[in-house]
């Protein structure tokens, strides 16, 4: 309980504060009623709507305003006035900034007047939709600027549907972070992973350096989440500029918890005949040696069909690698790549490998083809490894008005590996056939979906494996109710010289589903095992309650043991699309639980 009180206290601090000053162009709206949803980033307004923008005034009855896309529509007996210009219409579609609009009058035809490329389509969110948000505001007037910062007057905030204290003025949306050097407070948060955390953004903007760096200070001890103490995570990216051109890219990561860091500096340039890049990476962690690696890349661009690339990497321990590759476009649908790479490692482990490889890819009208050939020579042991593979996929063959589809693919693999003083060769050809149907209509509205998969692999000609997979589904939908029966038969055979061994396994699932996507779903499943005896029954339910609260449950009953294997019942609430609160009972945990999860 104390943990919950602490959480609720912290949630009051979630509301992000703003240190920005309102400036520049803005739209001013006034009316009887406006509602803004924080989650949906949307405003609906109604009753004596007045929109003022510079010397332009628009009067109407209703406004739908999509803040995210900065576009909206006003309905009613619309009156547009700018100096001497006056106009009346039924609907006025607008976009900002600057304000541009299109007027429409609906008689026997639609008459349009205004900026023609203003789209007469705006996503509509009714007050009912907006009130489902965890946090929403009602107010009577507001200003919005081009950074989407909203300042409202006569405001009532609602948290989880509960009315809060009315306020005379409120900045309800933060807007864009300005392009200047500043330290910006992002939020205070709580999660199981980080405990309590404070996030700041350091924005660096000057002639020489630019970048955004996130600082997250965390305390995992406050709620006894972990034995680990307080710490800071720093991550960000930036650049060093010379004569307004970016000279160096910089990316940095630092974790004071496990005392690790990773820093990469890179420089790249695109010239007329070639492009190059240079990159230095330094990373380290407590008790481990610092790692340094220099990478470079040079590409010649002037040749028509090929672009040879030379890559080189080197670290402080004299381990290095160089690679030359030449992608060659024979024609649009065929690509050949030839490459050579040598890797020399002189660390605790010594190795020297020379790798020559070619790959060919073609995408033709009937088939697609992919082939790889690779020779790898160990320069220390003078041994050679060879690999060759080719795979060919036939484009799907369609029959009976595209209702039946046949996919055929084949492959051939060859490898030769050094083995003591000789070599070991392995040849593996194979073929896959997949026949499936998009559904055959049966009497009484049942639909049947048969499918068949065949797979054959000849492994070194000595041992072969053959697999068959038959699937058959029967479905019937009746409004919100759906019934389905799935039958699966899997056969696996393996032959080795004279002997053949294998097995069959089959199962049946009988499923009943009853759902209304926006309100509830119930899913009952009966699973019959290989002997076609009932093995288990599962029931999964979800019911949406008011204020975006969901009641979910899962039951799994094992018939043969005559007991419940799993019972989970919990309610879930999302707060500002960032945190999930779950509370309920779990048989697996054998207790009631309360969880706070961060929505990724």
């Amino acid at each position: 309980m104390a943990r919950l009180i602490k959480y609720l206290f912290l949630s009051l601090l979630f509301v992000e504060t703003s240190v920005l000053i309102f400036a520049g162009e803005s739209l001013y709206f006034k009316g009887d009623y406006f509602i803004y949803s924080d989650d949906l980033d949307y405003i609906y307004g109604s009753g004596k709507i007045v929109l003022t923008y510079e010397s332009l005034t628009i009067r109407g009855d209703i406004v739908y305003f999509d803040i995210k896309n900065l576009k909206g529509v006003i309905y009613g007996d619309i009156h547009v006035k700018k100096n001497e210009y006056e106009k009346r219409c039924n609907a006025l579609f607008f976009r900002v900034f600057p304000l541009e609009f299109l007027c429409e009058i609906y008689l026997d035809n639609i008459n349009k007047e205004g900026i023609k490329d203003v789209e007469d389509f705006v996503i509509k969110k009714s007050p009912d939709n907006l009130k489902k948000s965890a946090l929403y505001y009602e107010f009577r007037e507001f200003k919005i600027n081009k950074d989407r910062k909203i300042k409202a007057k006569k405001v009532i905030p609602f948290v989880m549907g509960l009315i809060s204290i009315p306020l005379k003025k409120l900045t309800i949306k933060r807007g864009k972070i300005p392009e200047k050097t500043m330290l910006y407070f992002k939020n205070i948060n709580y999660s199981e992973l980080d405990g309590v955390s404070l996030s700041l953004l350091f924005r660096l903007r000057n002639k020489l350096m630019k970048g955004d760096y996130d600082f997250k200070f965390y305390d995992r001890k406050l709620f006894k989440n972990s034995d680990e103490k307080r710490g800071v995570l720093v991550s960000g990216q930036g650049g060093v500029f010379f004569n307004k051109n970016k000279f160096l890219d910089l990316s940095a990561f630092l974790n004071s918890g496990d005392k690790s860091f990773n820093l990469t500096l890179s420089h790249k340039k695109d010239c007329k005949y070639f492009s190059y890049s240079l990159s230095q990476n330094i990373s380290g962690r407590e008790h481990l040696q610092t790692f340094f690696e220099l990478s470079s890349n040079l590409t010649f661009k002037k040749m028509r069909y090929i672009q040879p690339t030379l890559s080189f990497t080197h670290n402080l321990k004299s381990s290095y690698a160089y690679k030359i590759s030449t992608p060659l476009n024979i024609w649009k649908k065929m690509n050949l790549n030839i490459g050579m790479e040598r890797k020399i490692l002189r660390d605790n482990f010594r190795s020297d490998m020379l790798d020559i490889s070619t790959s060919l890819k073609a995408d033709l009208s009937l088939i697609s083809l992919s082939s790889d050939l690779n020779f790898a020579k160990d320069m220390l042991e003078e041994s050679i490894r060879k690999n060759f593979s080719v795979s060919m996929n036939l484009k799907p063959l369609l029959f009976l008005d595209s209702n039946v589809s046949i996919d055929i693919s084949s492959f051939y693999m060859f490898s030769e590996l050094p083995y003591v003083e000789t070599s070991y060769k392995r040849i593996t050809p194979g073929v896959n056939v997949n026949v499936s149907s998009s559904g055959i209509l049966l009497p009484a509205g049942f639909v049947i979906y048969p499918s068949f998969i065949f797979n054959q692999v000849w492994n070194n000609k000595e041992s072969n494996s053959t697999n068959f997979n038959h699937l058959l589904s029967i479905e019937k939908e009746l409004g919100k109710f759906r019934f389905s029966l799935d039958y699966s038969l899997i056969s696996r055979y393996k032959s080795e010289n004279f002997w053949v061994e294998g097995y069959n396994s089959k199962n049946i699932n009988v499923n009943f589903e009853f759902k209304n996507e926006s309100n509830y779903s119930f899913y009952l499943k009966f699973y019959f095992n290989d002997n076609l005896a009932l093995e288990n029954i599962s029931l999964t339910n979800r019911v949406n309650l008011p204020f975006d609260i969901t009641l979910s449950s899962f039951f799994l009953f094992y018939k043969q043991e005559n007991k419940f294997q799993s019972i989970e019942i919990f309610i879930e609430k999302k707060v500002r699309n960032k945190i999930k609160i779950q509370g309920g009972y779990s048989l697996a945990l054998k207790r009631f639980f309360l969880k706070f999860l961060v929505v990724q």
Binding site: G47, D108, I110, D120, K124, E138, G479
Partner: protein
């Protein structure tokens, strides 16, 4: 964040204007003892003929509602109207539904007038019927 408090109740926002709360297009709908029994289109693919169901909230006194369908060239192709309510009465919501069977497949712009004022418009894609 908070600048100051002290707002008079009459200055507070108040939702009194009628608005369309929900609009649905279904294959069939029946009013059975005041409850709607809907048959939805399979996979949400709307074909002709269809029924539209409108839910309008915050209704006072008598009301007259029009729904008009325009084709992509802006020409009116169909129209339905409803009259409901009594003077001096308040209705939390009113539901109207009717069948549309004149439209062929295509994209339509539908608009809703309530008491001669536009209160809603949107687009409807009407698919070609298979088989």
């Amino acid at each position: 964040m908070v600048s100051s408090c002290g707002v008079k109740p009459e200055q507070l926002p108040f939702l009194s204007h009628s608005y369309i709360s929900k609009i649905e297009f279904v294959k069939n709908v029946e009013n059975i003892k005041g409850k709607l029994k809907k048959e939805r289109f399979k996979h949400g693919i709307i074909t002709s003929p269809f029924y539209f169901i409108l839910k309008i909230k915050e209704v006072e006194n008598k009301g007259e509602l029009f729904i008009k369908f325009y084709n992509i060239n802006g020409k009116k192709k169909d129209e339905k109207s409803f009259e409901f309510g009594d003077f001096g009465k308040y209705y939390e919501y009113v539901i109207c539904f009717d069948r549309i069977d004149k439209l062929t497949s295509g994209r339509y712009h539908y608009i809703i007038f309530f008491n001669n004022r536009l209160i809603y418009e949107d687009y409807l894609n009407l698919n070609e019927k298979k088989g």
